[in-house]
Subunit: 349 residues, 2 copies
């Protein structure tokens, strides 16, 4: 018998976008927010850094849950908190999908989903996106044991409406439908208002994108009390305190500063739409984005070639060597200045 | 089919010690350090709180690994970093034990181990501690598929020597032997110096106890490069960034401040030994502790009764309703003043 478990021998892990350490790059590769976190977040964390770090943090994240529940118009028992939405997704896969087959997901979506399937013995039934990279909701009204959809989808940036999501949720009563809304604040319609009506809907969100807090690691799941209880059972069988004291404090402040959130997310939407317009003029194909990134295709040039050339010019974007999308690049929306530099670099290539 | 996975239905999670929110208690119930973190930790985190929180943290924790490797006299490839030693343990169970039977562990040990067994389909072979709560190392020289031992053991506080640990590791070549050293800095002998000689030894440690950083969530595994690679494969299939930016920075500073670490840990050892002496005089049975807690038994009074009475007096300790140890209390070592208050309260009960 091997020293390792069978699973540990065979896993092929997720590979995150590069985090260069020298700081000379324009980073448009990991969908981070180009704006800093709200000044109230910085202030709140600085105030919290002190003697209390010797104590374990609140394992329930009660204050944070309360603030997020208020923001969502729900109650604390509808909220699950984890170490970034990746950990929340991992726990959701364990709670709802582990050991099941025929779990539906798009063939092109967040590339961490297949990794969770492999880790938790889930057999996915991958549903091809349509030619235009949209989801045909009728594809999800078939026999299954669960559904997961990113909305807006990644790396496509394309979104379903709330009504379309509701159609899928309503058709799958008794089975968990997970909607991963990491990017919803940039123009999508959140499914959270449906949570009170559908006890099979779980919505996952994060502070990494629209709250500029990728460095702090806070994600949420929102759903019916029974679903959240199940997730807590799994979470408390792994690590009682995955969200540290400072992350709890910073996250709370971020959710409370509605004004800063509105301002920065609207700025990003504006820059995204301007960038899209410029790229369309240059002949690029750009999918209609509701996210803080765009998914683009040069009509002639090879995507990997452009990716490498941009890297030489100290601009990082994301290239996926994957069927159907290897002719495209995913480009995060930076500041107006960063996007100008990006457009200029593209023009030169 | 249920909405939940079969596992999520059946799990019985770990229950951590109470974290009261009102701050009026003397907390001797979760083995936290009574001293604040080093001033250099506070300073380093305050300096790091800023715009960089918008970016993902270094998924490799490279700088932190380097500092810890230097401290341990090893190289970076021997170090794994996780969100507290609980997450590290969880990943170690997945990496080495998942799906195996006959994994050896003491019958009385950290109560999270059986929870991991249940989550990851590990069939443990629980080896009874001897009558005096020590481990008989010869019990671990039998056919098995892995070994995990807390050293010092919890909640007993009793430790094996490095030579005794080496005996177990040497007899189990080809199978992972995990030594959980959460409490080793309070008088135990670490097995880390054996890591270069035994490719089956994994040592797990934490900054929550001897570095006063329970609130920051940083734990380590130290072992042969091949073991660490396996753990990274599992970790990167769950969450690329479980240790946030501020935790990485604070942890680095904590390891670098050797002087503060030495001073506080020696203080705790001193207070522990003084408290032990007083309790022995009062007729208590106190196991010989190498940890920052003691495991005590009143010769007459019921442990649960004392636990409740202490709680009324605003002193929290830990009581385990578990066979063989339900007549004992686990008491974390606080400051000299806190332990005086504890002794006084005991005398009154």
């Amino acid at each position: 018998m091997s020293l390792f478990s069978e699973k540990a021998e065979s896993l092929i892990p997720y590979v995150p976008g590069e985090q260069p350490k020298d700081g000379v790059y324009i980073k448009l590769n990991t969908n981070e927010n180009p704006y800093p976190p709200s000044p109230t977040v910085i202030e709140a964390i600085k105030t919290a850094v002190g003697d209390k770090l010797r104590l374990y943090p609140d394992p329930e994240c009660s204050e944070l849950k309360k603030v997020y529940a208020d923001y969502m118009g729900l109650s604390e028992e509808n909220i699950f908190v984890g170490n970034g939405s990746d950990e929340v997704l991992s726990i959701a896969f364990q709670t709802f999908f582990m050991g099941k087959k025929d779990v539906l997901m798009p063939d092109i979506s967040y590339s961490f989903y297949p990794v969770y399937c492999s880790l938790y013995d889930v057999v996915a039934l991958e549903i091809p996106l349509k030619e235009d990279f949209t989801i045909d909701t009728s594809d999800y009204i078939i026999s299954n044991n669960g559904v997961i959809i990113a909305n807006p989808n990644a790396p496509t940036s394309v979104a379903l409406s709330r009504d379309q999501i509701e159609g899928i949720v309503a058709a799958n009563r008794g089975r968990a439908v997970i909607v991963d809304e990491a990017y919803v604040d940039f123009g999508g319609e959140s499914a959270v208002p449906l949570v009170n009506r559908y006890d099979n809907l779980l919505v996952i969100s994060t502070l990494s994108k629209s709250r500029s807090l990728a460095g702090l690691r806070v994600g949420f799941a929102v759903g019916n009390k029974v679903l959240i209880e199940g997730m807590n059972r799994v979470k408390n069988s792994i690590n009682s305190y995955p969200v540290d004291l400072l992350a709890q404090v910073g996250a709370k402040a971020a959710i409370l500063d509605r004004e800063y959130f509105e301002k920065t997310r609207l700025d990003i939407i504006k820059v995204r739409d301007q960038t899209t317009e410029q790229l369309l003029k240059m002949g690029y194909d750009v999918l209609p984005s509701k996210a803080n990134f765009i998914f683009i295709k040069n009509p002639e040039k090879n995507a990997e070639y452009i990716f490498k050339k941009l890297r030489e010019k100290k601009i990082l974007v994301r290239y996926f060597k994957q069927e159907r999308i290897s002719d495209r690049l995913r480009v995060s929306i930076g500041t107006a200045e960063e996007m100008e530099a990006f457009i200029k670099a593209l023009a030169e290539i």
